[in-house]
Symmetry: C2
């Protein structure tokens, strides 16, 4: 029985061709030409000026926070509902997360975040401090969960006023758009000081593993390039005036990534189609609904997420998961809330309520771009038959 996958890579002929070209050139490590081509392509696509390819999305976030000066005396506002990686990167630097709740789109609740910033902080010497911890809030790190854009424009003014950096985790949102401050639709990450992409195997575009750091500011981009290559002040005589990192992507990964990102329009179209079929199929079944992107945003529909009302539908989230897995259909619960994870539960969370109920009731459904209609029908019928 062929297994139906959650989010597997879709590899075509171009991937094949670019990798051969890369091997034939002999340039397989980070100094090859595909790295530059990959970066330029993504920069052009997102219309964000500077792009630096790195080993993965985690290192992208780690380095972004680092070059923006986030250190152990700082706090970073971050959603509880997210994969654990962004929170880990805050901790690598010794900084502390303050957890925010999510909204119906599974992105950071902006209303509550603004409420926190307006009521729970004070300004001193041009910086914003947490009334409770007395620590400086140096950054906010919204995550475009499932490809659904956070409306970062609503945070922009207050963050500028309070001298708070914005780092967008766009790991899941390559191709997703939101409104900028003038109401134009722009690529997610465009408003941020720095935005990060992931090209992990399960993402809409993959380089096997990889990430990218995007910024409109040359100064920050220069710092990213410097610190991602072991901080070489004199590369020939090996003088290093700072502790750097080894974070650059290899040329073979970039060759794969470039071929993939050139297929982004077709991948996006397929993802949207998958979402629409699921949406049509479940919309008349009481107790089932999909997590939708916010109005005024355009999701890449990377992952379709189903929300189950057990009382109405008659079966629980976990019962559906069990049935799907038994039928050879890969599916996943939503990430466990970060503010409840063991390494973070001692840190502050601000009115995090919706997150817990969303996590308990949601399932990630198969969303691979190479799903067939038959595959989707099988997922739908397996779930529909459980209606009571």
């Amino acid at each position: 029985m062929k297994k139906i996958s959650l989010a597997e890579p879709n590899i075509g002929n171009k991937e094949w061709q670019y990798l051969k070209e890369c091997l034939d050139s002999g340039w397989v490590s980070s100094s090859g030409s595909f790295v530059k081509r990959f970066e330029k392509f993504v920069s052009k696509k997102t219309k964000i000026k500077h792009a630096t390819a790195v080993v993965n999305g985690t290192s992208a976030l780690h380095l972004s926070l680092y070059v923006l000066g986030i250190r152990e005396t700082n706090e970073v506002l971050v959603p509880s509902l997210s994969f654990i990686a962004p929170i880990n990167t805050i901790r690598y630097l010794g900084a502390v997360p303050v957890f925010m709740d999510c909204n119906e789109h599974h992105t950071m609740d902006i209303t509550k975040t603004l409420e926190f910033l307006n009521n729970e902080t004070f300004m001193k010497a041009g910086s914003c401090y947490n009334k409770k911890s007395k620590k400086r809030i140096a950054a906010v790190l919204p995550v475009h969960t499932w490809g659904n854009p956070v409306e970062v424009n609503q945070l922009y003014s207050i963050c500028r006023k309070k001298n708070i950096k914005i780092v967008e985790d766009a790991s899941e949102s390559l191709g997703s758009l939101y409104q900028d401050n003038k109401g134009n639709m722009v690529h997610t990450g465009k408003i941020a000081d720095i935005a990060c992409l992931s090209f992990n195997g399960n993402k809409i575009v993959t380089s096997g593993g990889g990430g990218m750091i995007l910024t409109n500011k040359k100064k920050d981009s220069d710092l990213v390039n410097y610190y991602s290559t072991q901080a070489k002040d004199d590369p020939f005589y090996y003088k290093h005036n700072n502790v750097g990192f080894n974070f650059r992507l290899t040329n073979i990964q970039a060759a794969l990534g470039l071929a993939q990102v050139q297929s982004l329009p077709s991948f996006k179209a397929k993802k949207k189609k998958i979402y629409k079929i699921y949406d049509q199929s479940f919309k008349d079944i009481p107790g089932l609904e999909l997590i939708k992107p916010a109005k005024n945003t355009r999701s890449n529909y990377w992952m379709t997420v189903l929300k189950v009302n057990k009382k109405i539908f008659g079966n629980s989230r976990d019962q559906i998961i069990k049935k799907l897995l038994n039928a050879g259909i890969e599916c996943r619960p939503v990430w466990y809330p970060n503010h409840l994870q063991k390494p973070f539960k001692s840190f502050q969370s601000y009115k995090v309520q919706k997150t817990q109920s969303e996590v308990k009731s949601c399932i990630c459904l198969p969303s691979s771009t190479n799903l067939s209609k038959t595959d989707i029908s099988k997922v739908v019928s397996t779930i529909s038959r459980m209606q009571k």
Copy 2:
């Protein structure tokens, strides 16, 4: 004019075949089968029980020190003569390096290191402390520079007695052998608690970029696997009881690495031949000599390094470098001493004297496995003609 490279990858047909197989399987990220095959092959080759492939040599060292419990209250003994990466990894953890000198082979001076451990430390509650700083010396990190093995067996007893972990940086020494405590020739890394390999583009075997963590201890290997994959205690429900890292190698890199490591015997033979030709060519020229591996060790001759006595030869190291570069021959000075690098110069160094003079007088010569005899002759003649 074809440029003669310092250490460029040598890519054959098998690399291509494995990469094609990897792409065709659709498994390009870290969960693919080539990762396991690559790890198993290296484990078998080195006769070290457990191997975990990671994104690069830097992350290998970082994670090794981490799982051995090195933290900000600790010190790590490390050679000043080395690429900066191992020192950076000590600093990532907030620990402090104590710099040791080098010997004529460019590896850590064991005599001085033993002298330091015997005279400059004291024991308290089963651990070893630095008399000067009062900090615990928790690890020693010898580097097998240029592929020349450090005689780690001479450190073994004292490290066991003083409860000091041994982490070998074998980034440059895949295929190099040293004597174990019984006098048997074994692969470098075998004596250590944990040893680290690098598969960077300039190494004897490359996976584009990559690294590997080797250990004979299952407990440590389990920790490496756990922490390198974001510390998943319940992978399905995303429970994480610790802060983890995203350090695993991708399957496409592993496919390349496996093909490469299967060619290690021929690469080693070529490297040795290159070294021998240089040695024959320079041995009768006064003021020139090669850096040799220690007796009782077998180097993989990854990099041939030439030492210039300016007074006798009549031209300086920098004059030779200039001449070589002008002739289209890539060459490099040796790394700037780490105890003099800006981020580290406030840290303790113990009688580091030879390192400075070695750094000033040495040149890395072209050592790529695909060098032709004509290439080598050109290097030799360019240098020989400078004799005064």
